[in-house]
Symmetry: C2
Subunit: 358 residues, 2 copies
C-alpha cells in the first residue's frame, strides 16, 4: 500500500485506534473511549467535518495545554433534577458525556434531568451526547455556545457563535430521530469549498466586510461574516448563549477563543443537556408505534419535483451508519496520511482494510 493512498478501515478498528491514541496522549482509558465514540461516531453518521479529521487539533490541545488531559469534573451545585458541572477544561466530548450521563440519571429519578456544564471545550457534534439518552430509552437534547463565528441579526461582523443544538429521540422501526444543526444558514466549510472551486455562493449565506450581501465566497475571509438562519436562527443562537453561557456561568460570545487556532488557550465555553424519560408520559412501546405512525404520515406527503422521498431528521445518518459498519470507513489520501503519521508518532498499530482501489 502506497503511503499516499486513500484508506479504508473497519469502524471498530478506527475506534480502537482513536481510543488508544488519546490514551497514549495521557488520557485515562474511559476518556479515550468517549473521544473515539464522539469522533468515529461522527464519521460513521456522515458528519465527517466533526470526525476523525479533527484528531490532530484535539491532540494539539492536549499537548499545548489548551485542554486538560487529567480533568477532575466536579459538581458545583445540584438539585433533584438539575446539576451544574465544572468540566475542568476536559476535551468537550468528555464534559458533554458527563453532563448528559448525569441528566439521564436525574431523569430516571425525577422524570426529567437538566445539567449545565461550564469551563468546557469544543464538544464536536451535539448528536454525540444527545444520543447517549437513547441507550436508556430517553429523549436527549444538547445545546452549546462557542467561538463567535456568526453575525447577530443586523450586524456586519461575527459576534455570536452559531450555537448548535442536537435532539435525539428513540424511534420505531425507522430508527431514532436525530436532529443536529447550527444557527447559521450554512457552515464556513461550505463557503471555503465554493471558494476553492471558484463557484458563487447562494444569496443569504454571507455578507462582506461592509455588511452587504455577496455571492463571492472570497468575501468571507476578507472580513465578511456568516449570516444566521434568519432572525429566528439569530434568536435561537441567543437562547443557546443564555443557557450554555449566561446560566452555566461559562465564557460567552467574544470571550471564547477558537478551539483549533488557539490550542494553548482554555476554550471555557459551556453546554446544557436535557433528558426526558418517556416512561413517565407514555408506554415506550406505544411511543415507538406513534413515532412510526408520525413517520409514515409524513412520508405519504406528495413530493416536490426532483425529490425522491421525505426523510425524518437522522434517517440518512442511520442508513449511513449501517453501510459504514458493513463496509468500513473511507478516508482520502490527506486524512489517511495524518492518521498513519499519528500511528507512527504514538506507536499505535492501525489495522487498515485491504484498500478497495489502491
Amino acid at each position: 500500500m502506497k503511503p499516499d493512498a486513500s484508506m479504508q478501515i473497519r469502524v471498530e478498528d478506527l475506534h480502537a485506534f482513536t481510543a488508544a491514541l488519546f490514551n497514549a496522549a495521557g488520557q485515562p482509558l474511559e476518556h479515550g473511549a468517549i473521544m473515539a465514540d464522539a469522533l468515529v461516531g461522527a464519521d460513521v453518521r456522515g458528519a465527517s467535518s466533526h470526525g476523525i479529521i479533527r484528531l490532530p487539533q484535539l491532540l494539539s490541545r492536549l499537548r499545548d495545554g489548551g485542554a486538560n488531559p487529567f480533568p477532575q469534573i466536579t459538581t458545583i451545585s445540584e438539585a433533584c433534577a438539575t446539576a451544574l458541572l465544572d468540566a475542568d477544561a476536559a476535551l468537550g466530548p468528555i464534559g458533554a458525556h458527563s453532563g448528559m450521563t448525569m441528566a439521564v440519571s436525574k431523569a430516571e429519578a425525577c422524570g426529567v434531568g437538566f445539567v449545565a456544564v461550564r469551563n468546557s471545550d469544543f464538544i464536536g457534534t451535539c448528536a454525540h451526547s444527545a444520543m447517549l439518552a437513547l441507550d436508556r430509552g430517553m429523549i436527549g437534547m444538547t445545546w452549546t455556545n462557542g467561538f463567535p463565528g456568526m453575525a447577530p441579526w443586523g450586524g456586519r461582523t461575527n459576534a455570536i457563535g452559531n450555537n448548535p443544538i442536537g435532539f435525539a429521540v428513540p424511534g420505531g422501526a425507522g430508527g431514532p430521530v436525530v436532529l443536529d444543526f447550527a444557527m447559521s444558514v450554512t457552515a464556513g466549510g461550505w463557503v471555503r469549498h465554493a471558494a476553492k472551486e471558484g463557484r458563487p455562493i447562494p444569496d443569504g449565506w454571507v455578507i462582506d466586510a461592509d455588511g452587504n450581501d455577496t455571492n463571492d465566497p472570497a468575501d468571507l475571509p476578507k472580513g465578511g461574516a456568516l449570516l444566521a438562519l434568519g432572525h429566528k436562527g439569530y434568536g435561537l443562537a441567543v437562547i443557546g448563549e443564555v443557557l450554555a453561557g449566561v446560566l452555566a456561568g461559562a465564557k460567552m460570545l467574544g470571550q471564547i477563543p477558537h478551539w483549533f487556532n488557539a490550542t494553548d488557550q482554555r476554550v471555557g465555553n459551556g453546554h446544557v443537556h436535557l433528558a426526558i424519560d418517556i416512561r413517565r408520559f407514555i408506554d415506550p412501546a406505544d411511543f415507538a408505534d406513534r413515532m412510526d405512525e408520525m413517520a409514515l404520515a409524513l412520508k405519504k406527503t406528495p413530493l416536490r419535483p426532483g425529490v425522491d422521498q421525505i426523510v425524518l431528521p437522522g434517517e440518512a445518518a442511520t442508513r449511513r451508519t449501517a453501510a459504514h459498519i458493513a463496509t468500513g470507513l473511507r478516508f482520502n489520501a490527506a486524512i489517511a496520511a495524518d492518521l498513519r503519521g499519528l500511528a507512527e508518532t504514538y506507536g499505535i498499530p492501525m489495522n487498515e482494510m485491504e484498500n478497495q482501489d489502491a
Copy 2:
C-alpha cells in the same frame, strides 16, 4: 363616536372587558382572566394576529362545542419533576397556563419541571405561557403542535404544523428575552396580505400545487403550501410534533382540525412546558448582570447598512408594551365593530378612550 370608527382603549379596560366576556360565555372567573392575559397580552406586545382579533372565533368554539367551557384539567401521571395533563378540551391558553404553572412549581422543588398537556386546543402565542415563568424568576419554554399548515421538507402539500416554540428569560436592565416563532419561513397571513396588495412574494416562502417555487401569493390558496425555514425548520417542526404530539399522547399532524374553521370539533393537539429555576445554577443578580453583559456585547456589533440597532429577541415587544400601557391600544374600524358587537350581544360595558382621530 361613529359606530364605524376605529377605537382606542386602555389596556386594563380591554383586559376587564375580555375577561368579562369569557365569563359571560360561561367560563369561570379565573379562566376569563387567563384568556384576557393571553389575548390582550398578545396585542400589547405587538403580536396582534394572535390578539383580540381572535375573540369571535374563540367564543364560537365555546358556543359550538369545539372547546369545553367547564374543563376539569386532570393529572394523568406525575413524577417529581414531570407531569402529563389532560386539558379536557379547555381553550388552549387555559391548558397552557395549567401546564406552565405546574412546570414552575415542579422546578421550584426539583430545579427543572417539564409538563406535557394533551386534549388541548390552539394556545395562541407560545410567549403567553412561557412568560409565566418570569414571574418566579425562571426561564420558561412552551412548544406546541397544531393544524398541518406547512409542507414537510421535500413535500408539496401541507402535512405538518408550523409548530411554534417560545422561550422567556428574565433579563437585566434591558427587560426579558422572549423568543416566539413558528417553523415556517413566513406566516400564511403575510402571503394573504401580499395577495390583497397585488405584490409578489419573495423566493422561498411558498410552493404552488405542483410543488414548484412561486412568487405569486395567489398560488397558496390554490393548493400550494407554506415552506419550512429550511430543512432545519422542518427538523424543529418534527421535534415539536414528537414532544407535543407523540410524547403527550395528543393528536398529531393531519388528525388536528383547524381551530377556527372547525369550531364544533375538538382540536385535541398538545403542548409541552419547561421551567428552569435559575437559582439552582447561579445567583439571580449575577444572572441579570450577565444578561446585560451579553446584550451590551451584541449591541456593540458594527451594523449592516440600513440597520439602526441590534435588538435582542423580545426587546421590541417590551418597548411596545410600555407604549401601549401609556397610550392604550388602537384597533381599526372592522375590529372595533366586532368588539362593540360583542359588548352589545353579551351586555358587557366597554370603556373606550376618547378616540384620538375620530
